[in-house]
C-alpha cells in the first residue's frame, strides 16, 4: 500500500510498528496530557473547539462542544466511554489504533475525561477484537503503573479509573444508547433521545461517548495546537480521516487521508483503481449503513459539507468498491440481511420493513416480481429510512434507497414485465 503523502498526520500508519508506553513517550507521547493538566480545562476545551474536530464514529458531532456540554452539567458524577465496538462491516480503523498505538488512544481518553470532569471511564471493545482487548488491558495496567491513569495522574488531583468492557457480538451496541444499556447489564437496545447521553447517560449520569479515532486525535490537538491541526484538511473539515478501503481495488487496506481529497483519488490513487480489465460499477461509502454511488459521483470531496450535499454518508470511513461484474441487488440484499439479523426488533419499520424488503429482493431475484414490487420496495425503504427508532434502522435503508436511485434500471431488469419484454426482443 502506498505511503501517506504527508509525513506528519495524526496517525501516520505504520503496520510494522507497535508503540509501547516507553516508545510512545519517547516520541512525545503524554506531553499533551501534562500540558492539559497544567491548565484550566477551559483552555484545552477551547483548543479542541477551535480545531474543528468532529466525531469520527459516523455522526460527526463537534467534539469540543460535546465535552463542553459535560463540563457545564451541574451533576458531579460523570462518565466517559470510548466506543470501540467497531461493528460496521468493512471498517477496521479503530482496531489499528488499539493494536498499534494504544497509548495515543489512552492519552486522548484521559485528556477528554479530565476536560469533561469524569473520573470513571469504560472502553467498550467488541468481542471480536481479542487482540485489541489484550493490548488495551496491558496498556491500561502499564499506564496505571506509570501514574498516567488511576489516582493522582501525573501528580495532579485528577483521578481516572478506566475499565475495559467487552461487547458480546451485537452490532447494535455500537449505537451509543444501546451501548449504555449493555454496560448497565441490560439488553443492548437503543433508548429514547432526548435525553442525550451528555445529559443522562450511563446510570442516568452525564456521559461523554466518543469513538476511538476521535479520542486518538486529541493528544495532537492539545500538543501542537488548533492552528497546527487546521493546516491539515479543509476549512470545513480539518484533520484527517482513516479510511478502510476494500472490495474491487488493487490496494485494499487502511489509509489516512487529509479531508478534502476526492473519493476518486482514494479509489484510484490510493487504491490503485479497479482490477485490470474491470470498471467500477459502484462504490459503497460508509459501510453497511452507507450509500451506493455511481462512479460519476466520485469527484465529490471527502468533506462533511460536500458529502452532505451530495447525499453521501462518510460514516465510519469504510469504502467498498464494486466492479462491473457485481450484482447490485445481491450486494444490497447482503446488507439488508445483515441489518435484519442485527435489528433489535423494537420498532416496526426496521423489524418488519427489512424483512419485507428482503422478501421483495428475493422475489425479484427469482424473477417473480413486477414493477409494482419495486415501487413497494421503495415505499418500504422510505419508511425504514424516515421512521425507524434509531440510527441502525435509519441507516439500514441507505444502501436500498441509494441503489434504488442510481441503479433503478438494474432492479427493473429483474421484473417480470421487462423479462418478458427482453425475451420477446430476443426471439424477435
Amino acid at each position: 500500500m502506498s505511503k501517506s503523502p504527508k509525513n506528519d498526520l495524526i496517525f501516520n500508519i505504520d503496520f510494522d510498528e507497535y508503540l509501547d508506553l516507553e516508545q510512545y513517550r519517547e516520541r512525545g507521547g503524554y506531553s499533551a496530557l501534562a500540558k492539559a493538566l497544567a491548565h484550566d480545562p477551559k483552555i484545552s476545551i477551547r483548543e479542541i473547539v477551535d480545531s474543528g474536530l468532529r466525531g469520527r464514529g459516523g455522526a460527526a458531532f463537534p467534539t469540543g462542544k460535546k465535552i463542553e456540554m459535560l463540563r457545564n452539567n451541574s451533576e458531579t458524577v460523570r462518565y466517559i466511554i470510548c466506543n470501540a465496538d467497531e461493528g460496521e462491516p468493512g471498517t477496521f480503523k479503530d482496531r489499528f489504533i488499539m493494536t498499534h498505538i494504544p497509548f495515543q488512544l489512552l492519552e486522548g481518553l484521559t485528556i477528554a475525561a479530565y476536560l469533561a470532569g469524569a473520573s470513571k471511564g469504560y472502553i467498550y471493545v467488541r468481542h471480536e477484537y481479542p487482540e485489541a482487548q489484550r493490548i488495551l488491558r496491558s496498556g491500561i495496567q502499564a499506564a496505571i503503573e506509570a501514574g498516567l491513569l488511576g489516582k493522582n495522574i501525573l501528580g495532579s488531583e485528577f483521578n481516572l479509573s478506566l475499565e475495559l468492557f467487552s461487547g458480546a457480538g451485537s452490532y447494535l451496541c455500537g449505537e451509543e444508547t444501546a451501548l449504555l444499556s449493555s454496560i448497565e447489564g441490560k439488553k443492548g437496545r437503543p433508548r429514547l433521545k432526548p435525553p442525550y447521553p451528555t445529559q443522562a447517560g450511563l446510570w442516568g449520569k452525564p456521559t461523554l461517548i466518543n469513538n476511538v479515532e476521535t479520542l486518538a486525535n486529541i493528544p495532537k490537538i492539545i500538543d501542537k495546537g488548533a492552528s497546527w491541526y487546521r493546516q491539515i484538511g479543509t476549512v470545513d473539515s480539518p484533520g484527517t480521516k482513516l479510511i478502510s478501503l476494500s472490495g474491487d481495488v488493487k490496494n485494499r487496506g487502511l489509509l489516512e487521508v487529509p479531508f478534502g481529497v476526492t473519493f476518486a483519488q482514494i479509489v484510484n490513487e490510493y487504491g490503485g483503481g479497479p482490477p485490470i480489465g474491470k470498471t467500477i460499477k459502484a462504490v459503497n461509502i460508509g459501510g453497511a449503513s452507507g450509500v451506493h454511488v455511481p462512479p460519476e459521483m466520485l469527484n465529490t470531496a471527502l468533506e462533511y459539507k460536500a458529502c452532505a450535499q451530495a447525499g453521501i454518508t462518510i460514516g465510519s470511513g469504510a469504502i467498498f468498491v464494486l466492479d462491473n461484474t457485481r450484482s447490485i441487488l445481491t450486494n444490497v440484499q447482503n446488507r439488508v440481511r445483515f441489518f435484519l439479523h442485527e435489528s433489535c426488533g423494537k420498532c416496526t419499520p426496521c423489524r418488519e420493513g427489512l424483512r419485507q424488503a428482503n422478501n421483495i429482493i428475493d422475489k425479484l431475484l427469482r424473477g417473480e416480481a413486477g414493477v409494482k414490487d419495486v415501487d413497494t420496495l421503495e415505499r418500504y425503504t422510505r419508511a425504514i429510512v424516515n421512521a425507524s427508532f434509531c440510527g441502525l434502522g435509519q441507516a439500514a435503508g441507505n444502501s436500498l434507497s441509494s441503489s434504488l436511485t442510481y441503479y433503478r434500471e438494474e432492479y427493473l431488469a429483474y421484473c417480470r414485465e421487462n423479462r418478458e419484454l427482453n425475451s420477446k426482443e430476443e426471439t424477435a
Binding site: L192, E342, T348, G353, I360, T376, Y380
Partner: protein, 352 residues
C-alpha cells in the same frame, strides 16, 4: 408554568412546556394514530405510527416522544406522513394472525381500527408469519403471541403499573417476542395476575379467559362500580349481557386505581353468579332449612324481635352490621336497631 406556542397543521397552538407533540395534538382534537403509546406509561416510540413532519428535521418524528419547542412547525397529515403510516400498518399486519372472525378483540382492536382507516389490505404481504403455541396455562389470561404486535405496552404496564417486571422482550429482530423470563408460560412465571397487561393490550394477543365466547364488546352494557373486596376502593366496569355479569374491564377514569386492579378484583367477581347464591328466604323448621316467601320470613322475624324485646327489653337484641355492605345499608341497620328495637347493640367486625 411556561407556555409554548407552536404551529400544528397551520393552526397556532399554545400548550404547557414539556408537552409532547402527540399530547398537544390530542388537546386540540387533531387525531394521530398510536399503537404503543399510553398516557399512563412511559413514552416508547416503538410502533412509529404517530410520526409527523417537523419543519427543519430530516426524518419523520414520532410525536409521542418529541416535546414541543417554541416556534415548531408540525404537519400531521402530509402525503409523506400518510404514506409512512400506511406502510407501517401494512408491515404490522404482515406479521399478524388475521383471525378477526372469532377474535375476542373484534370491535375494540386498535390495529383493525387503523387498518380500516388507512385502507390496509392483507394481499401485499410476503413471507412467513410467526407461529407460536397458545399460552393457556392459567385460569385468567389467554396469550396468543401470533397476534402480538410488540408494542410493549404489557411490558411497561408490568414494570410501571404493577412494578412486577415479569414481562420483557426476548430474542431480536423478526424473532422478537414478549413474555416472562425464559419464555415460560404465564402460569409458571412470577406473574401475580393483576391483569394490567390485559388492560393495555391493543390487539387480541392478551384476552380474558372467562369472557371468551361470552359476547362481543358492543353487546356488553358497561357499568362503572366500586370493587367489593379490600379497602382500596378500586373502580372498574362490570360487563353485562342478559342480566349477567360476564366479566370486568378496567376503567381508566377510576379515581383511585386507573386501570390497575388485582387478581381478585379483575377475575374474582364471578362469585356473583355462583350456584351457591341464596335466592330465597329460608326458615329453619325442625333443624332443616325450608324455603319461604318474603312475607312469611319477615313476619316471623318481626314477631320474634317484638316478643323478645317486650319480654327482655331492647338491650336483649343485637345486630352485626357489615363492612361489606353499602353506607346506606349500614346507616339503615343502625337506625333500625336504634329506633325500631331501641338499643345501641350494633357493631361490625372492623372497628380498628
Amino acid at each position: 408554568m411556561q407556555w409554548i406556542q407552536l404551529k400544528i397543521d397551520d393552526r397556532k397552538i399554545r400548550v404547557p412546556e414539556k408537552t409532547t407533540i402527540l399530547e398537544a395534538c390530542r388537546m386540540n382534537n387533531i387525531s394521530v394514530p398510536t399503537l404503543c403509546h399510553d398516557p399512563e406509561l412511559t413514552n416508547w416510540g416503538a410502533c412509529r405510527l404517530c410520526v409527523v413532519e417537523i419543519e427543519g428535521m430530516r426524518n419523520l418524528i414520532t410525536s409521542c416522544t418529541m416535546e414541543v419547542q417554541p416556534g415548531m412547525v408540525v404537519k400531521t397529515s402530509t402525503p409523506k406522513v400518510k404514506e409512512a403510516r400506511k406502510t407501517i400498518l401494512e408491515l404490522i399486519v404482515a406479521n399478524h394472525d388475521i383471525d378477526c372472525l372469532t377474535c375476542e378483540k373484534m370491535g375494540e382492536c386498535e390495529l383493525s381500527k387503523y387498518a380500516y382507516e388507512y385502507g390496509v389490505k392483507k394481499d401485499v404481504f410476503l413471507g412467513a408469519k410467526r407461529k407460536y403455541e397458545l399460552d393457556d396455562s392459567n385460569p385468567f389470561i389467554i396469550r396468543d403471541l401470533n397476534k402480538c404486535i410488540l408494542c410493549g405496552k404489557c411490558v411497561r404496564a408490568c414494570a410501571e403499573i404493577q412494578v412486577n417486571n415479569v414481562l420483557d422482550y426476548s430474542k431480536r429482530g423478526f424473532e422478537t417476542q414478549v413474555g416472562p423470563a425464559f419464555n415460560l408460560p404465564y402460569g409458571e412465571s412470577e406473574c401475580v395476575f393483576c391483569g394490567s397487561c390485559l388492560a393495555v393490550c391493543p390487539v387480541g394477543a392478551l384476552t380474558e379467559k372467562q369472557m371468551t365466547a361470552k359476547g362481543r364488546p358492543w353487546e356488553y352494557k358497561k357499568v362503572q362500580t366500586t370493587c367489593p373486596f379490600c379497602g382500596t376502593g378500586c373502580n372498574f366496569d362490570l360487563n353485562i349481557r342478559d342480566n349477567k355479569v360476564v366479566g370486568i374491564t378496567s376503567n381508566p377514569n377510576s379515581p383511585v386505581n386507573g386501570r390497575a386492579l388485582c387478581v381478585k378484583g379483575r377475575f374474582g367477581v364471578d362469585y356473583i353468579h355462583s350456584p351457591n347464591r341464596l335466592t330465597k328466604p329460608l326458615i329453619k323448621k325442625k333443624g332443616e332449612f325450608v324455603e319461604a316467601e318474603w312475607y312469611e320470613a319477615l313476619k316471623l322475624v318481626a314477631e320474634k324481635f317484638k316478643t323478645l324485646k317486650d319480654q327482655y327489653g331492647p338491650d336483649s337484641l343485637g345486630a352485626l352490621s357489615s363492612a361489606r355492605c353499602t353506607n346506606e345499608e349500614n346507616y339503615l341497620l343502625q337506625k333500625f336497631m336504634r329506633t325500631v328495637i331501641g338499643t345501641n347493640n350494633i357493631d361490625h367486625c372492623a372497628r380498628t
